[in-house]
């Protein structure tokens, strides 16, 4: 909805954003032809997770925090497990890390397939949504549904079910799937890999606005391989720090127009970005040969600074996740214990992993009995909020001549570049009452 202002300006107000996870709104104010103000407003109510984690047992965060999101529960489970294990001084065996990575590949596949094909592709092909697009491009939608189904099936196989998996526990898993069960899934994954390669060629044929942003990129970087389930933090400015320093390096601030906190790197006031573009730009050298070749064929360089091309990077990450899942399955042997004991101790622990939409940090403080005394969760969407607003500010300036419908469509497209999960990001300010 638009208000024309008497001084020739106008305000575009979109009450409910479509095709994003959760409830958000957007407000852009123009004065003359200039953009005066841009607010991405996250009005989904606060959810109090950090508050009600306090007082719970140290074994509970994987199951409790998984409920923050139906699209990326594995990200929450994984970051929570690392953080609790860190607090308790336990290092899990390599097999546990590999199985976490395999489960996480399932989540990347289902989440990226959903976003690439059902949420984001309609923007590029000129449709209001996937249903409208399906009539003219059934093959594109079928490709997405097939990939999403493969991701869901992998999550079911490893996690026990595709939404909010039940097989994850602090210290590992309740049960490892048998090598034979994993191998039986190979044909579906091979087909998914072929579909993912098709996906890269489909989306790289879309038209992309010429638009680049200079944000500092933040991502995990692992000792080997593309960062998925673990790593330490690196930035495009050349900074590197262990996950245990995230609370000192990243500052969360409340802004009046949103129930999600805005995050900034300490010492810098410019926005930073997490997510596929950051991951890719900081780790393209770590992609498998097949994913690297797909990226090259899609016209991607070693880095990518155009947020609209994030759809291509997501497709490349689909290739990487399918390939990586096959690699883990092929190397899997039975016989190791699915978990280790994690006896509680007093301390603080940190964990991070690469959710489909970016780095997800967890921090817990435990007492000697393992009761959680403090919890902090920094989800990717709140870290990206400032970048989303900066993108809108930069782009809206060049779009001020568009009519409202076209302008709204362009702006929503720009927001969807980040695959925002608003439900994850919703937060609440600490309220202080001063009386005199």
């Amino acid at each position: 909805m638009t208000h024309k202002l008497t001084d020739g300006g106008r305000v575009l107000q979109v009450g409910t954003l479509a095709r994003v996870e959760g409830e958000g709104a957007m407000r852009i104010a123009f004065e003359g032809g200039d953009v005066a103000d841009v607010h991405l407003r996250i009005y989904e109510p606060p959810r109090f997770y950090e508050a009600f984690l306090r007082g719970r047992a140290h074994t509970e965060p994987p199951d409790i925090t998984a409920r923050i999101c139906g699209i990326c529960p594995v990200a929450y489970q994984t970051s929570a497990c690392w953080a609790i294990e860190d607090a308790c001084g336990v290092v899990v065996p390599e097999e546990v890390r590999l199985m976490r990575r395999l489960l996480y590949c399932g989540e990347w596949i289902e989440s990226h397939a959903l976003h690439v094909f059902l949420l984001h592709a309609p923007d590029f092909l000129g449709y209001d949504g996937a249903i409208e697009m399906a009539t003219d491009h059934p093959d594109v939608v079928e490709l997405g549904l097939r990939l999403k189904k493969a991701g869901n099936a992998l999550m079911e196989l490893v996690g026990g079910r595709s939404v909010h998996p039940v097989n994850v526990r602090v210290g590992g898993f309740y049960r490892f799937p048998a090598a034979a069960e994993l191998r039986a899934f190979r044909p579906e994954l091979e087909r998914a890999l072929a579909d993912a390669l098709t996906a890269v060629s489909v989306v790289s044929g879309f038209e992309f606005p010429e638009f680049e942003q200079p944000y500092e990129y933040v991502s995990l970087r692992a000792e080997t391989g593309y960062p998925i389930e673990v790593g330490s933090v690196v930035t495009s400015a050349g900074t590197a720090f262990p996950v245990s320093e995230f609370a000192e390096r990243i500052e969360e601030r409340h802004v009046p127009h949103s129930n999600a906190l805005h995050a900034r790197l300490v010492g810098g006031d410019a926005p930073y970005a997490v997510g596929p573009l950051a991951r890719y730009s900081l780790n393209s050298d770590r992609l498998s040969a097949v994913a690297r070749e797909a990226a090259r064929d899609a016209g991607l360089g070693d880095t990518c600074r155009n947020p609209f091309r994030s759809i291509v990077v997501r497709a490349v990450e689909l290739v990487e996740a399918c390939h990586e899942a096959l690699r883990i399955i092929d190397g899997w042997t039975d016989g190791t214990a699915p978990s280790v004991e994690v006896p509680p101790r007093a301390g603080e622990g940190y964990g991070a992993s690469e959710a489909p939409r970016g780095t997800l940090f967890h921090r817990y403080v435990l007492d000697a009995a393992g009761i959680i005394r403090d919890a902090q969760i920094v989800p990717p969407t709140s870290q990206n909020q400032a970048s989303v607003e900066a993108d809108l500010r930069a782009m809206a300036a060049t779009w001020s001549d568009l009519d409202d419908h076209a302008l709204q469509h362009r702006c929503e497209h720009a927001i969807r570049n980040y695959d925002p999960c608003i439900s994850c990001a919703t937060h609440f300010l600490d309220l202080t009452v001063e009386r005199s």
Partner: protein, 161 residues
């Protein structure tokens, strides 16, 4: 082809559990050649109903009628779309990819069963952890009877185009 009955919803959300309750009541009758399933995510229907006929989907609905009222809609190919507002299914986000959106996606992809009937039971409330409300709970046996009846009769699959 075997018949399929799917109860949709979430039993942890008050009257949204009515699809599950009816599916269980139908399953208890152990009808030969009839598969009965419950699902939380309507999107699973796209694959689930392939190769089945007839297909009956039961879900909670909010159209403004009295709680417990039963709506019966034939939704095969060539039929009009489900009224999207009543099926909590604007297709807006993906957490709310509801039944109406799934039906339309299936139609576009030519995945709609030839014989599909959707039964909606008017809900009173969707409170977290609540049981079914009285009028909805009381409607369950009669709706289960209706499902059984539908399975035994010829379900009209097409209207002339």
């Amino acid at each position: 082809m075997t018949a399929l009955v799917v109860g949709l919803g979430d039993p942890a959300r008050g009257d949204d559990g009515v699809g599950f309750a009816i599916a269980r009541a139908v399953a208890a009758r152990a009808l030969p050649g009839v598969s009965v399933l419950v699902r939380r995510d309507p999107a699973t229907l796209l694959d689930l109903w392939c190769g089945h006929a007839p297909v009956v989907v039961v879900d909670a609905v909010r159209s403004g009628a009295a709680p417990g009222t039963t709506h019966r809609l034939v939704v095969g190919p060539g039929q009009p779309p489900l009224p999207a507002g009543s099926w909590a299914s604007s297709g807006r986000g993906t957490h709310a990819f509801g039944l109406a959106a799934v039906v339309e996606l299936a139609r576009a992809l030519h995945r709609l069963p030839e014989q599909l009937v959707v039964i909606g039971v008017e809900a009173a409330s969707f409170g977290h952890g609540d049981p079914l409300s009285d009028p909805v709970r009381q409607a369950v046996p009669a709706v289960a009877d209706l499902v059984v009846e539908l399975l035994s009769e010829e379900v009209p699959s097409h209207v002339p185009r």
